[in-house]
Symmetry: C2
Amino acid sequence: MAGRPGSWGGLVLRAGQAVCAGLCVGIMGSSLGFASYTAFCYLLASMALQSLWSLGLACLDGYALKAKKDLTSPILVSLFLVGDWVTAILSFAASCSAGGVVILFRRDVLFCRRYPQLPCGRYELATAFAFLAWAQSATSAIIMFWLLASS
Amino acid sequence: MAGRPGSWGGLVLRAGQAVCAGLCVGIMGSSLGFASYTAFCYLLASMALQSLWSLGLACLDGYALKAKKDLTSPILVSLFLVGDWVTAILSFAASCSAGGVVILFRRDVLFCRRYPQLPCGRYELATAFAFLAWAQSATSAIIMFWLLASS
């Protein structure tokens, strides 16, 4: 199955998650005044957790490919499954709440027009990367579920 | 299995979803000025869909209990599964974005203190009911998945 742990597909998926989550952390963390907004702080924390988790599993995939190990034992897949579901749900909640706040700033209370020093573009970019990271994390979570169910 | 379609547990779960989602729609829809905020409009739309779906399935459960019909055929469970997952994901996204905006109003930009005419308490109550509706909807979705996987 494409994207299973210890395969090239899995490595690419994990690397994509780590890169998107890392970009989100970098862009949001370097934005002016993000710390005044709870939703953006939560997004940063959740994406930091996501990038650490994905980076760890990407390293594990790389090691398994190099050493030709098999990572699809039920106990390992269960572990990945729980971790993937927890991080995917946290990422989705963080992305949605940050998205709600970004849309509020841009369209409803017009903070972006009223306060030009507010880096709305960066907030939007970080939220977009968070949604990308979530989409890949959800793909991984579904693949893990499938592997466990079919084993 | 408790909570399967056509059982008393299923009927209680569906009625709980419909009541929580309906309360959310009622409280949010009667709040002053909710229509100025995209996140609250989306919450209203998503909860209206959730309450219609849950009410329909509650009626079906009641009919099945009265007429002693079996609703656990794979084709019916697949249909309920898809509907439950779609409504649960929409409800979760709506609840999280409304929650992000409510926390922003209350703690970050202090709109609740600055504009006392803003019914923050009602927004919070509606969001809390939305999370309750989502929790019950997610329970239903997991039960459907289990039923389909074990059939």
